[in-house]
Each structure stands twice: as structure tokens, then as C-alpha cells.
Symmetry: C2
Subunit: 321 residues, 2 copies
């Protein structure tokens, strides 16, 4: 068990993931209320908005108002997502509230790149050059390499570990060529194709090849293996994860509408804390935020823990009995 | 990875688990249709009914008609559940259709024993003596030791590994004293308290102390860790699991109404087959049976895979594209 980290850092992506696929428009004030509730849980890092085209993601047309409206809490890093120079410009307007960094983002699957980013892989690399230049001109550091569909793809099928590693390699080469100091390699199971052994194999190869880089995992629970895959990541020493409160979200371009999205933050926190791995997050406060997310989104979220209830509550009752 | 088994045997408990908590009565014919659909998936073992008091579990008042009505398939073992001599009598009437065996069943938590079996632990041991004698008189072998609430309890809190092992020990002693040849130790996480390290610890201690016994796991996904816990069991060489199609079920006496029940069979099958562990089950047929279970039970079941769809389907589409 020696590879299990003593602490992990979870990036809460519930607001960004959840609102991008809300069936009916969520009032800006409700989005802000959820972000503020998440700030109070002890979450170290919250992704609060997506500066993407309102035509492609109508749920984030109000990203600017949301970011202007939430109440920043000391010690919490607030991040946002964007894919191009226009998105960066919108984010820059909030550089006092947001922790800004850029990513070199590639997809291991060309088919997904076409669906999600609207470009083939070569086009994606060319576009990344422009985006990196825009970040550098704006003084925003590009510190992360991010590989989407690193474990499989609904459109092209299995992604061999060698292909995932090659995608990391392409992105790292581009980062080096453009003078970006990369600190983290983020691997995303965007469509829920991973299994624990595949996680171990890919993470193992990435860690061996780039030993100086932190590895983070962005896992989806599309087919129910998300938390088992997170456990596999922990076993490989991964100490950074993305997750979404309630399991809110899901990629709008993945071809499996209605499937669960990101792993549920509260289930990841339970997994870690029950094994003595510190998250810094108050699980009961997070579960309460999950119930708020359900009210705000107007639907039952896939998290089992929101139904089962925290062990802390049952432990307290047992002690009192 | 050397402890991962090459094949596992899954007992499908969806019918027994699912119908015991159905909110509205399910017609007997629908129960039979689901059992027949499950028979066609290649499931090696299906628990088809619960011969319990109709007063306590009204959903199984028609157990006799269900067991009389399904179409047995060659090569599939059909089992049923009962807790006392009256239940055994009802099961004996179907000894040509059912694989009959008895269990020495104890709860690691006294509080749960009171809620679920209506007896304290001492009373439970006394009752087990009577039940064992009834099985022996009927010529039904008692081959299994079963420990409920082996990893924690909503009523009494944490169950230390030593307590779980002590419960196994009490049951094994009773089996030896009464001349039962035990072949399997079944550990149940009845209320979803386990985590992967706890599974490894308890299974490890049980395997070390009783090396001649097979260990099986009955895991609930109450708080979202069920499949990660199954993975931990696989890592410890466990090759027998209970699961319920769709994740149907949940214990009616556990104090967390609405929480997910057993791990979903199709998610366990996906986990195993993706890692090269044979289950003998046709996953797409099982997913179809899961959708049938949702229609029969009149509700959406918790399984993520029922929403996300099988990888086989996406792989076929990717090959055709």
C-alpha cells in the first residue's frame, strides 16, 4: 500500500460540468449559490465556469456574470475552462478572482477531437500553437498537458496505452518547443472506457517516462467503474483528481446522453478519507452541497452517497444509541 | 496482479433482492419473465426467490408460484433464500428445480441482528442450531458460513476486522460442532460500510485463518464504493460474488431507504471482462435484462452502465465507421 498518497487535492468541477448540460436554464444566482456552498466545504480548488461559445454550450452563456458574482474564499483556488484566445480574453477580465493557467490539450482519439474540438489532431496541434502564443502574450503560464479520451473513445473505440502515451508526448514536445514549463500531466477518461488495470498501465508508463511531472486523473463514471479507477490511480500514487459534486455533468459531445458524468466528489472523498487519505473537505458539508446541486439542477444526480448518507452521521447515531 | 482470478462465478440476486423492496406489487408473471431473461445471459447461478414471512417481506408472498413458474435452463443453478425451518419446508417442495444448501448465518453486528433477524446474537446462534438440525433432518447440506454486516453497520457503527473474524469463527465453530462440512465463507457488506483497504484486510485475515475455504463477497453500493470494493476482493483472489442486475434491491431493514442495493451485476461483469477475467455472462444480454428489470419494477435502477451502454456496442460502431 506504500504508493497510496497521504493527501490528495481534488478539483471540484461540479459547477462547470453540471451547468454545461442542464436541460433547462439555471438562474445565474443559483449557480453562484452552489459555488459559494462548495467554497464552504474546504474544497481546495473549484472550477467555476466555462468560457466557451454560447452557441455550442448555451448553459455557460452567463459565465462572466457567474464569475463576477461568487464570493471568493481565502485559500480556495478558483479556475475556469476555455479552449481558445477568445475564452482566454474573457477569463483575463477576472484575473483577480481566478487562478489562470493554460493547458496544452490534445485528444488521444482523432474522432473525439473532431466531435469535441471540431478539429482533427493536426488541426488541434496548430490551434494549440496559437492558443499557447495567446497565453504567453497575456502573461498566463501554460503549466499543464491535458489528454482527452486517454483510455478509449465512443467514436473510435479502444485507445491503446501506447497511443495515450504518444498523445502526451506530442503535447510535451509542443510545450517544450514553445517554452512552456509543464508541471502536470492530466489524463482524462472522457467517455468512461477505463478499467483499473488500464489506469495502472497508462499512469505507470506516463510516470516512468516523465518522472518529474505530477499526474492528475479526470475520470467519468459512465459505466460504473469510476471510483474503482480512482482507487487504481491512488495505488499508482496519483494525488490529484477532478470530480463533480453529485456526479453532475457528462460530456455533451460524447454520444451517450443521460449517462453519468464525472465521478462524484463526495464518493471520492469518502473513498480517500475512509482509507486515511486527507482531502481537506468536510464530507457532510459536501453532501449538503450535493443536495443543493440537485435542487438547482432540478434532477436527481447519480451519486449513490447522496442517497446512502454519510458514515459520519451513522457513526454519531451509533455512539448516541 | 497475480492474485487476480482468471474466472469468477457471479450469483445473480436481482430477482430476490429487487422484488423484496418493490414499492408496488410486481405481477408473478413479470418476476418469472425477468428470471427467464437472466437465465439466457449465461449467468451460472440465479437466486430466484425468498421464502420468508409474507408479513415481513410482502414482495415475496408469491415465492412458491415464482419458483414453480420459471423455465429452468440446463447448466444454471437456481437458489433461494430462507432463514428458518418453515422457509426450508417451502423450498423443499421445489428440490427438483432448486439447488438447495443451508447456511450458518450470523451478523457481525448485534444491533443489525436485532433489526434484520429479530434476535440478539446469542438468540441467533440458538436459532441456527435449530435451523441446522432441520436441514440435516431434510438431507439438505449446510455448506456455507455467512456473516452479515461484516464491514460496518448503520445501527452500531464500525465493525473492526477482529469482530468480523470472530463472527466467522463463531459460525465455523457451530458448523463443526453440528457436523456441517463448510465449503465457503460469505462476507456481506450489508449496509455499504466497506472500503478497498478494509476488504483487503478482512478477506486477508479470513483467508489466512481458513485457507481451505472459498471466500465470497456480497457487496452493496450504498455509498458508491461497491465496485472499487469488488476490485479489492479480486485483488485478494476472491472469485465468487453476489450481485443484482441493475443494482436492484437494498435491505429493507437497514435504515437508509432509497439507497442503492447490491452492486450491479453488469458493472461487475464489465469490470471483470475488461480485465480479462471470465464471467461466462453475455454482457449485452444482461444489460437488456437490466432494462427489463426497470420496466418490471417501474423505476430507474441505479446502475450507471444501463445509462452509459456497453463498450461492445461502441466498439462495433467504431469498427463499422
Amino acid at each position: 500500500m506504500s504508493d497510496l498518497p497521504r493527501a490528495v487535492r481534488i478539483t471540484e468541477e461540479g459547477p462547470r460540468e453540471g451547468f454545461q448540460i442542464a436541460a433547462t436554464p439555471v438562474p445565474t444566482q443559483d449557480k453562484i449559490a452552489l459555488i459559494d456552498a462548495l467554497s464552504a466545504t474546504g474544497a481546495p480548488r473549484i472550477q467555476v465556469a466555462s468560457f466557451v461559445s454560447p452557441k455550442r454550450v448555451p448553459g455557460w452563456a452567463d459565465a462572466d456574470a457567474v464569475v463576477a458574482g461568487f464570493a471568493p474564499r481565502a485559500g480556495v483556488a478558483y479556475t475556469a475552462l476555455w479552449f481558445n484566445a477568445q475564452g482566454l480574453d474573457r477569463a483575463m477580465a477576472f484575473k483577480d478572482r481566478l487562478t489562470l493557467y493554460g493547458s496544452v490539450t490534445v485528444a488521444a482519439s482523432e474522432a473525439f477531437s473532431l466531435k469535441n474540438l471540431n478539429r482533427d489532431r493536426a488541426g488541434q496541434i496548430a490551434a494549440q500553437r496559437e492558443t499557447i502564443a495567446a497565453h504567453q502574450a497575456a502573461g498566463v503560464p501554460v503549466t499543464r498537458v491535458s489528454v482527452q479520451a486517454a483510455f478509449g473513445c465512443n467514436f473510435s473505440g479502444d485507445v491503446a496505452p501506447a497511443r495515450a502515451v504518444a498523445a502526451v508526448s506530442e503535447a510535451m514536445a509542443l510545450a517544450e518547443e514553445t517554452g512552456c514549463a509543464i508541471e502536470k500531466i492530466a489524463l482524462a477518461d472522457t467517455m468512461g472506457w477505463a478499467n483499473p488495470l488500464l489506469i495502472e498501465r497508462v499512469v505507470g508508463e506516463v510516470r516512468s517516462r516523465w518522472p518529474g511531472q505530477a499526474v492528475s486523473l479526470h475520470l467519468h463514471d459512465t459505466r460504473g467503474l469510476g471510483i474503482a479507477n480512482a482507487m487504481a490511480g491512488l495505488r499508482m500514487g496519483v494525488a490529484e483528481f477532478d470530480a463533480a459534486v453529485g456526479g453532475a455533468g457528462g460530456c455533451p459531445f460524447a454520444g451517450h446522453a443521460g449517462a453519468p458524468g464525472n465521478i462524484a466528489t463526495e464518493e471520492l472523498v469518502l473513498l480517500c478519507e475512509e482509507m486515511g487519505i486527507a482531502t481537506g473537505i468536510d464530507l457532510d458539508a459536501l453532501i449538503a452541497a450535493g443536495h443543493l446541486a440537485e435542487r438547482v439542477l432540478g434532477r436527481t444526480l447519480p451519486s449513490a452517497l447522496l442517497r446512502g448518507g454519510s458514515l459520519a452521521g451513522f457513526r454519531a447515531k451509533a455512539r448516541a444509541a
